[in-house]
């Protein structure tokens, strides 16, 4: 059986190239403790250290409660860390800013703005003139294939289309980094697969570094260069894994040996077989004799 550590020469060469590139996000010893009065403080993240290189696609995965969403919110500046530091392009992160775009699971499009005005939002609050913002926004809408829906309101769009608008809106600010917090989690399986392909295509065409939070193993292996695997309670780094699947990626790669090996390895880390055994339901017999379903 193939190991996830076996890398084909072109994959190894690609990782070597990525490591040559400048570091975009440098996270050092990051801690996050949530304190609420009357209850013991909970440690969401502990001593998180990793680096993301330019134009890398890093996926963060872990069991629920491992603080993966908190990590994205810390990098976005929506939460303040309890300790450690984060540098974006060498500058410390203090609070949210247009240099980090974020795509949320809940779409978060502004319902009172048309698709076009949603994409223009960041440009307009950033001081661009209306005409300039509109020109830029139309270009981004073209990139996500929604030119025809420029005048539509968010409630008229499907979930996948909403999320494409959200991606266009985040990219329109030309951020150094795109943070995606389980962006496709609310979509049906087919739309999700399609959105994953769209994302890879957009990532290829645009100079952007992506940190992608997910709980879906296949999604992580399909998208990522490297996968940051977190443990829960407290949230610590279990492993920072290099995905051995070569690029460009295709949906049918999910049956290749490299893909299976990588997937199996993460699964072992996240749901160890021992824990799976403990989680079994008790045995019950509430059926009629002769109609067993095996």
């Amino acid at each position: 059986m193939m190991s996830y550590l076996d890398q084909a020469p072109q994959v190894a060469a690609r990782f070597a190239r990525i490591k040559q590139r400048p570091v975009i996000l440098d996270v050092k010893g990051l801690d996050k403790v949530f304190e609420s009065p009357g209850r013991p403080p909970t440690t969401a993240l502990e001593r998180i250290t990793f680096q993301v290189h330019r134009r890398e696609l890093l996926c963060v995965i872990g069991p629920s409660g491992c603080g993966k969403s908190t990590l994205a919110r810390l990098v976005a500046g929506l939460e303040a860390p309890s300790g450690g530091e984060m540098l974006l392009d060498g500058k410390a992160i203090h609070g949210p800013g247009p240099d980090r775009g974020m795509v949320f699971q809940g779409y978060t499009l502004f319902p009172w703005l048309t698709v076009l005005r949603n994409v223009m939002f960041g440009l307009e609050v950033g001081g661009s003139s209306y005409a300039e913002a509109e020109r830029e926004a139309r270009m981004w809408l073209e990139l996500v294939g929604l030119t025809k829906f420029a005048a539509a309101y968010p409630h008229q769009l499907s979930g996948g289309m909403k999320q494409r608008v959200a991606i266009a809106r985040a990219l329109a600010n030309r951020p150094s980094m795109l943070l995606m917090d389980e962006p496709f989690g609310a979509l049906d399986a087919q739309t999700r697969a399609q959105m994953q392909s769209y994302l890879l295509q957009i990532w290829k065409q645009v100079d952007i570094t992506i940190m992608f939070i997910t709980h879906d193993l296949d999604e992580a292996v399909y998208l990522a260069d490297r996968i940051l695997i977190l443990d829960a309670h407290p949230g610590r780094i279990r492993e920072l894994m290099e995905v051995p699947v070569p690029r460009p990626r295709f949906p049918d790669q999910c049956v290749t040996d490299e893909f299976m090996a990588a997937r199996r390895h993460i699964e072992e880390l996240i749901h160890p077989r021992a824990a799976q055994m403990e989680d079994k339901l008790p045995a019950f017999h509430m059926t009629m004799a002769g109609d067993e379903v095996e």
Partner: protein, 348 residues
């Protein structure tokens, strides 16, 4: 269909919806008709038609049924001609057709005394008092409510006092308002203001707090400043709910009207109603009360329809008299073509 009406939150067909809407008016009207036109339901009085040989009954007079019966027993006992009469309701409950007639003639009948207002003058005066009271209240109350809802520090600073103040009944300030503002319209506007303002701040603040915090976070990651968060996210995000709140609050403002108009120099529809009651013209009293209700209902329907047109991003939004009017106006001024993109969206 019929079985669906008993299912909680079941949708109604447009026909059924209109039917129920009409029934909500027709049922009370039918009850009123029944009480007015079916003598066996209530009719505690007798309107004397022919006094007979009675010494104290006069034709056209309203007497209680028991008194009328006793008098007739007495008359028959004395071998005198008994009185005749028709069963009728007390003078304070006119029949629907009388009120309907008063609704029409109310506007055409000159006032009993020359210094009294016509019905339409009285109504217009009341509408102005309501408008100014509500307008001034909203001018301060809406921004203050939004700030209280958006900024917890501000809410904490302002709301406890307002929470206390809103329990003070607005009419209690009548004497004070007259002392400070005189006897004309200013104290009336002030009472409407006091009745509306404090509720308004609290209601708007609560509405503001219901905004989806994820929208604020999204705006922050797009580079919005704190000020921009309020002007470009909070305000547009809650505007449709605030609009609905305002419709409800406007209804409350009307309930303070009667008290407000009794303060200082009595005026407006309240004065009109009181005068008619003095003349025992209860059909006009009813007509005036119904007019207030009709004005309120009409205002609300117009505002609801306007709201659906003003906020095109709402799921119930549709174009109508207002948007087409504005579009016509724009086209006349600019000669611009209607937006083509919108059609593409509609077809997609």
């Amino acid at each position: 269909m019929a079985s669906n009406w008993t299912r909680p939150l079941a949708g109604l067909s447009p026909t059924a919806s209109r039917g129920f809407w009409a029934a909500s008016f027709l049922v009370p009207l039918a009850l009123w008709c029944a009480i007015s036109y079916l003598p066996f339901i209530w009719h505690p009085m007798v309107r004397v038609v022919d006094a007979g040989d009675s010494t104290w009954l006069t034709p056209g007079e309203l007497v209680e049924r028991a008194a009328f019966a006793t008098e007739n027993v007495d008359l028959v006992g004395r071998r005198a001609r008994p009185a005749t009469g028709l069963l009728s309701n007390p003078v304070f409950l006119p029949a629907p057709h009388e009120v309907a007639r008063a609704l029409v003639t109310g506007f055409t009948t000159p006032p009993a005394r020359p210094e009294e207002p016509w019905l339409h003058q009285a109504l217009w005066h009341s509408i102005q008092v309501i408008f100014w009271g509500f307008f001034v209240s909203s001018l301060i109350g809406v921004p203050l409510g939004i700030l209280c809802g958006a900024l917890p520090a501000m809410g904490r600073l302002v709301e406890p006092f307002i929470e206390f103040f809103r329990y003070l009944p607005a009419p209690a300030f009548g004497a004070l308002a007259v002392a400070v503002l005189g006897i004309e319209d200013a104290p009336k506007v002030a009472i409407i203001f006091i009745g509306t303002f404090f509720q308004q701040v609290l209601v708007i603040a609560n509405t503001t707090r219901r905004i989806d915090p994820a929208l604020l976070e999204a705006a922050e990651t797009l580079g919005a400043s704190r000020r921009t968060l309020i002007t470009r996210v909070v305000v547009p995000g809650i505007i449709t709910d605030v609009y609905t709140d305002m419709r409800v609050l406007l209804g409350w403002a009307w309930t303070y009207l009667i008290v407000a108009e009794l303060i200082g120099v009595s005026s407006g529809i309240t004065y009109f109603i009181n005068q008619q009651a003095k003349y025992r013209a209860y059909d006009r009293v009813f007509a005036s009360i119904i007019l207030i209700g009709l004005i309120g209902l009409a205002t609300d329907l117009v505002l609801a329809s306007l709201g659906r047109q003003l906020f095109p991003w709402m799921k119930t939004a549709r174009s109508g008299w207002f948007t087409s009017g504005v579009a016509l106006f724009r086209r006349r001024r600019k000669g611009a073509a209607p937006e083509k993109v919108a059609e593409e969206v509609a077809s997609a």
